[in-house]
Amino acid sequence: MRKFIAFLILFSFALTLPLSQALAQKAGDKADETLIRNATVLTITHGTLQDADVLIRKGKIAGVGKNLKASANARVIDATGKYVMPGIIDCHSHSMLDAINEGSVAVSSMAHTRDVLNPTDVDLYRELAGGVTTLNLLHGSANPIGGLNTVVKIKYGRPVDEFIFPGAMPGIKFALGENPKRSSNPVIPGVQRRYPVTRMGVEEVIRDAFTRARDYKKAWDEYNAAVKRGDKNLIPPRRDLQLEPLVEVLEGKRYVHSHCYRADEILMLINIANEFGFKVKTFQHVLEGYKVAKEIARHGAGGSTFADFWGYKIEAYDAIPYNTAIMTRAGVVVSVNSDSDERARRLNVEAAKAMRYGNLSEEETLKLITINPAIQLGIQERVGSIEVGKDADLAIWNGHPLSVYARVDTTIIDGDIFFDRQQDLARRSELEKERAQLEQAEPNRPGTGGGTPRTPRGRRPSTDDDDLWQGDEP
């Protein structure tokens, strides 16, 4: 039996590894210099340029304009009739996380998404094919104060360390409302429920944590001051891995990204933040943000929301597709996110819904998935627009990216190609052949003896914050 299990493991590796390697083989195609020629360039910050070139050198944008010259050995991409836009930034993702919720405690700020990154997650490739280049990987929403986030570039096919976005502001997930109070968890007799179970308790947990964090910070500040004064033989305060990130929040060194739905809980967190003297960087989902847009703007928080996803649970029942536009017009920096490996593949269409419902301009709409999420993650100096000196994170589309009919041809990160549709199509027959060979090698196929195969897994779950009703899944 052990042998069989070991074989199964080997076999499943054999099945997935060569395929993913083959997929990644060409991905990450390197070139010191690349010239994208004759495209419509959506710079985001400097308007739209017709028949323009983008020159990439050593992973950075080296030129944007007409008739740019590249060196003789540069890779040249003819983008006539095509559109170049910055790589899309998804400000709420759980892709490549092997675990999402440390739900056993109400304050799980010691848990770090960095420790559970899986760089072989195939959904990363699917997202690249949707023009996405950067993800904000967030802990789940099971706790009023959740774990730490990781911002990554989707360098699919590279070692995991290369994914980490250098210099991105560290962040932490908070969550308000139904999820942290575990409303949808069954009450099991004899099993102690986790505090809190009401919005009152959620507020109290956050208040208590920051009260402790403030004391903890004071203890360290006093200790450091004493050391500085030259006091000897001091005992340092005991390190507290739960409170350290919260001290960073108080010091403005760590961004708070808070899951929320209802207007009242948004105001609650603003009040706590004001009281303790920190800022909420983004309200995530923020489906009722349109009801308190001016308060969010006054606090200086951003809003990262769904385009039109609503009604899947009680607290999403007042969500409206005009949310993006109302918050934008109130002065909130707004992004449209996916919170789903599936939706992440078509964030261009998700953003365009702001034009359908809220009549945002094309420029405002493009910002929802580029420079605005960059600002929300503190990476706006590096990505989010096509400007000289910024990272060469780009996607080339065969039509205007806000059109439902548009498709990505090429996705580039730091000047290297990580998705190319033509290469993908060219590899398919080869992959088919490989798959057939592997199936032939299956010792358990009918008529060859061996153990009984397992029932195949269903569709890979598209991870997200909420346990959604699956009406189409009988």
Binding site: V122, R126, K294, F309, Y317, V349, R460, W469, Q470, P474
Partner: protein, 542 residues
């Protein structure tokens, strides 16, 4: 009232008030309103049009509890008795009870509707059916889907139907004119794979979920019974141009019967295009469930055990269907010769008879290749009229689907591919592959209700990956109508069809396009929903 007026109207300005003086009685007087509605419905022929005679007879003979419902649907007991041809004596009592409870039920319905205005649809105009009238849409680009587009043309709507289409038309006197210069007219979209009206809030509000009855075999569970005409989803969906839907139950093996509904109406009966449109079967799965929270934690299952269990389940369905065939034969024989022993009435088997006789379609949910093959084989064995719902792997077996002429309702365009090593665009381009192979198909969201409004973007995505724009358009208009057997009434802009029309300022499938006017069942429907009203209420808060 034009659509543009509707767009700018505030949330407090309700339709009940507007219609109140002329047609519907005083606002706030619920009894008056309900009486008025009964009277209005009495003069409406729609009721019987929606429920053909044979439907009513069948129901009355074999399903007494439905009588009260039906008479309620028809608005008056007189109406009901007109079509009650084969009613059995014991049912008279049921009818009488229905007569007595009708006014009370109607009042209750409206009290509920009034209360629901707070949490469901904020205004009554989404709850009360707008009147039919005569309209002419002028100067429009008309996408008929029944021939070339017409430039600068007109569409005439009267009595719920399309009366004329063309560059020059006869306009009935008194017709309301809509100048559509610069705008386009399309047939309304239809989503053939929803649970519209059966679910309000999926999670945390079990009381609003009516999709899955207990038990595995429920052919007598009928979606039309539980569709909530006042669900916020209905207005939210139609203002984006989706004007009709197939609402399907989801539970067990035989889930029940789906209804084809227009997305306007005060009662399920007003909404019904075909109340009992198809039987829904969940064909047993050959893979474990996926896509759900916790799916990763499911224990491994032996494939042989799964297949054996599947065979058992298929056998359950087979046995019930054979019983239904026998039951139908027994009933027919008794009808011809009353000296034969009278077969006991069985409403469950009775519900199955038209489906096992191949008179109405059977929708089989199946996604994987083996499931689809199994479903087709089963349908052939039982001589059913099959439609595949889901169909993620249908592109793999196009030759079989074409040979057997089995249509597919594709619900997976926006789903993640089934397998990790599937090409990234496997499901994006599934529709194009079915088209190229000559398989009949249509595109659906497969969504319970709240996201059905995204239907045009599912079709648009298929068009980004190989399907022509024209085909993508047909995949959400004409093709679902053809597959569901209602292409004589829906799906194109043709004389005599139901006036389900969408007037837009651009390509119907394009995201940035706005719907400017909306007609369903010949009624001009205001472009308001729970969402537009919340927008109006908060957008200017400073």
């Amino acid at each position: 009232m034009t659509g543009r007026d509707a767009e700018t109207r505030g949330p407090g300005d309700t339709e009940i008030k507007r219609m109140g003086d002329g047609e519907m009685g005083r606002q706030g007087d619920l009894v008056e309103i309900s009486r008025a509605v009964i009277a209005a419905t009495k003069t409406e022929e729609r009721g019987q049009a929606a429920l053909p005679d044979h439907e009513l007879i069948r129901v009355e003979r074999f399903s007494p509890p439905l009588n009260a419902f039906q008479s309620d649907l028809c608005g008056t007991s007189e109406n009901a008795s007109q079509v009650r041809k084969g009613g059995l004596p014991p049912l008279e009592l049921g009818m009488r009870t229905a007569r007595m409870i009708l006014p009370l039920a109607t009042i209750l319905l409206f009290l509920t509707a009034a209360a629901a205005q707070q949490i469901g649809n904020p205004t009554a105009q989404q709850g009360v059916t707008p009147p039919r009238g005569a309209f002419v849409i002028r100067n429009a680009h008309i996408v008929t889907l029944n021939g070339p587009d017409i430039e600068n043309g007109s569409v005439v709507i009267r009595d719920g139907k399309i009366e004329a289409v063309g560059v020059t038309v006869n306009v009935p006197s008194g017709a309301q004119t809509i100048d559509a210069r610069g705008l386009s007219v399309y047939p309304g979209m239809m989503d053939a794979g929803t649970a519209m009206g059966l679910v309000e809030v999926g999670q945390g509000a079990a009381g609003t979920v009516d999709t899955a009855e207990l038990g595995d075999l429920n052919p007598n569970a009928k979606a039309i019974i539980a569709i909530n005409p006042h669900s916020a989803h209905i207005a939210v969906t139609r203002v984006d141009g989706v004007t009709s839907a197939v609402s399907l139950p989801t539970g067990g093996l035989i889930s029940g019967q789906a209804a084809i509904i227009n997305l306007v109406g005060t009662t399920p009966q007003e909404m019904a295009v075909v109340p009992y449109a198809a039987l829904v079967i969940n064909f047993p799965r050959t893979a474990r469930r996926g896509g759900e929270f916790g799916a990763e934690q499911q224990p491994d299952v032996d494939l042989n055990a799964t297949l054996t269990a599947n065979e058992r389940q298929i056998d359950q369905i087979r046995k019930m269907m054979r019983d239904a065939l026998a039951y139908g034969l027994a009933q027919d024989a008794f009808a011809k010769d009353t000296s034969l022993p009278r077969p006991d009435q069985n409403i469950v088997l009775e519900a199955l008879v038209p489906y096992v006789r191949g008179e109405r379609p059977v929708i089989l949910r199946a996604d994987r290749e083996a499931e689809i093959r199994g479903a087709i084989k089963f349908a052939e064995e039982m001589k059913l009229k099959p439609i595949i719902l889901g169909g993620d792997d249908a592109w793999k077996i196009t030759a079989l689907l074409k040979e057997k002429d089995v249509p597919v309702i594709l619900t997976g365009i926006q789903s993640l591919p089934l397998r990790e090593d599937d090409a990234y665009d496997t499901l994006y381009e599934a529709a194009a592959k079915l088209k190229a192979a000559g398989v009949r198909f249509c595109i659906s969201t497969g969504n319970s209700g709240s996201d059905v409004r995204t239907l045009p973007f599912h079709a648009g995505l298929a068009a980004a990956f190989g399907l022509s724009k024209d085909e993508a358009l047909k995949a959400v208009t004409l093709y679902p109508a053809q597959i569901m057997g209602v292409a004589d009434r829906l799906g194109t802009i043709e004389i005599g069809k139901l006036a389900n029309l969408v007037v837009t300022d651009g390509d119907l499938l394009e995201v940035r396009t706005h719907v400017r006017y909306l007609f369903i069942d010949g009624r001009q429907v205001p472009l308001t929903s729970r969402h537009t009203q919340l927008n109006d209420a908060f957008k200017d808060r400073r």
